[in-house]
Amino acid sequence: MAMLSIRQISKRFGAHNALRDASLDLGSGEFFSILGPSGCGKSTLLRILGGFEAPDSGSICLDGKDITRLLPSERPTNMVFQRYALFPHLSVAENVGFSLSLQKKVTASDRRRRIDEALALVAMDGLGERSVQSLSGGQQQRVALARAIICRPRVLLLDEPLSALDLQLRLRMQVELRALQRRLGMTFVFVTHDQGEALSMSDRMAVINGGHIEQVGTPSALYDRPATDFVASFLGTMNRVPVQFHAPCEHSANHVWVELTGGQRLRARWSEGTTMPPSGALVSMLVRPEKMGIREDCHGSTPRMTEAGDELTLSCRVADMAFHGATTQITGQLHDVDISVTATHLNRDGLPVGLGQGSRVRLVVKTEHILIAPDNARN
């Protein structure tokens, strides 16, 4: 049962389509991230959820009630703004207690108590009398957070709240934010352009590109099984090997047959939402470096498939090998296509003995980890 249900929201700014048919369902208490590059419409979606922007079409339901037309002040949502938007003429406590001070029925002593409690939640105890201008960026961030959660909104909207902080602080705030969300059991909608942030913090996430939601799912699902080329390339890194398109797979939608050099056929997932090219067209085979196992070379023709068609073997000459401590990365030239690929191997156990520059190795990859996508580089 979705608590927040976003149905086919579209928004145009002049000729620019900021959002196209965006639909999402969020559960209660979920930490949900919206990830995408700058300008893809993340803030627009968040501002529509908060009521600062009206969608051209579509609807938003919260707890079964249509809130699409409500003013920001009438919605049980609160927002942490990108640059905090604290009231510079008010003290920390006055900022945090702003919403309470608008409610006649909250007594002054009650307000004091709740402000202290909110400040304690964000580890800002005792700083209530300070002016907000005297605070550091990280402290301002905490005040903005306390101000937004003091009335316990049903949904907290956060617009790139950590992007203005330096790396150290950002990493610490990621952990604290996640802990706060668990403690309050509150639904967070967290907008970010930082894939690491989204992957590490979210229960589920959506990836947006050009106003269009490309994929929704758990971080691991999106990482392991990206539905589109965009999601695949935006999260982590990808090897991109040119192959020939053969035909759609007759048994399962979303799968296609492609042909590798030497006529070897391979069945793998097709990037969702893109039109398939004619047979014989060049497309890309996408594989993550750490999904490629590095094995000793054995003689026999490559590329080749296992009998069951679930594993592909490629042959490669090592051009460079880099040791990163926890991982080892090799860069090599694929045997027959003259394409450079990287493979990442966790620690050194199981690496072929005597592996080094010039060695020939086998790269082994499960077909479930392969995505076939239109050849972007060429258009």
Binding site: G50, G51, F52, L71, P72, S73, T77, N78, M79, F81, Q82, R83, A85, L86, F87, P88, H89, F98, S99, L102, Q103, R147, A148, C151
Partner: protein, 273 residues
Amino acid sequence: MEMEGALATVELKRRPRPHAIAYLISLVCYGLMLLPLVAIIFYSFLAPGDASDASQWSFTWDWYQALSHDESILEALTTSLIVAVVASLGSTSIGLLGALALHRSQFSRSELVSGLATLPLALPELVLGLASVIWFGTIGLSLGINSVIIGHITLTTAYVVTVINARLTDFDSAVIDAASDLGATPWQVARRVTIPLLAPAIGAGAMMAFTLSFDDFMISFFTAGVDHDTLPMRIYSMIRFGINREIYALSTVLILLTITGLGVSSWLRRRSI
């Protein structure tokens, strides 16, 4: 090392030159602009005698004393103060509402609207004064202190709108969103966030309006009717009977008031950023 040192010296030597010339030019310009004002202030303290002979200079407060006993001047000063206070209050209220409306409406980006709002800044005051007096005649408003005030408000409102609008433009509009997000009605947003944040700009606009009104001659001249001379008008009519040291003293008072007004205005404006 040698090479680097040499390069650094060249850099250092090359840079200051254009600065020095620009400095000199601006010094000359300011000198030319300010010299007549300095001369007036100087003469206002000079005792009677041959001004061209520096050995006979002696200084006195006499002219200021004479001013403070001159009924007609005190009367004109009172008129000017009343006009300036009322006009600045009026134009600040109208200008604040105008700037807020301009800022809120989608229309605000259109050159036309903001152009119209600030048109009085660009129009010759002569035209503005003439237009006012014709208009007052048409609607049957008798000339007097009221018509001067209305005439001044037309002019000074444009300045107030400009000053407040400038502040609104670099104002983080997210704080307004934040206030309404936290449950504030539009009225509560204005009272508790927008107006407090605009206070310095409002003050700067009011101060600017006061100074402009106090200094204005042309519009007052057209709209004052017969016996409501403002201070600048009083100076003008005194000049027609010849220039005396009292006029220097009076001008000095005006200069100092103007500088104070502008100083306070720009201090407030700087504080708001």
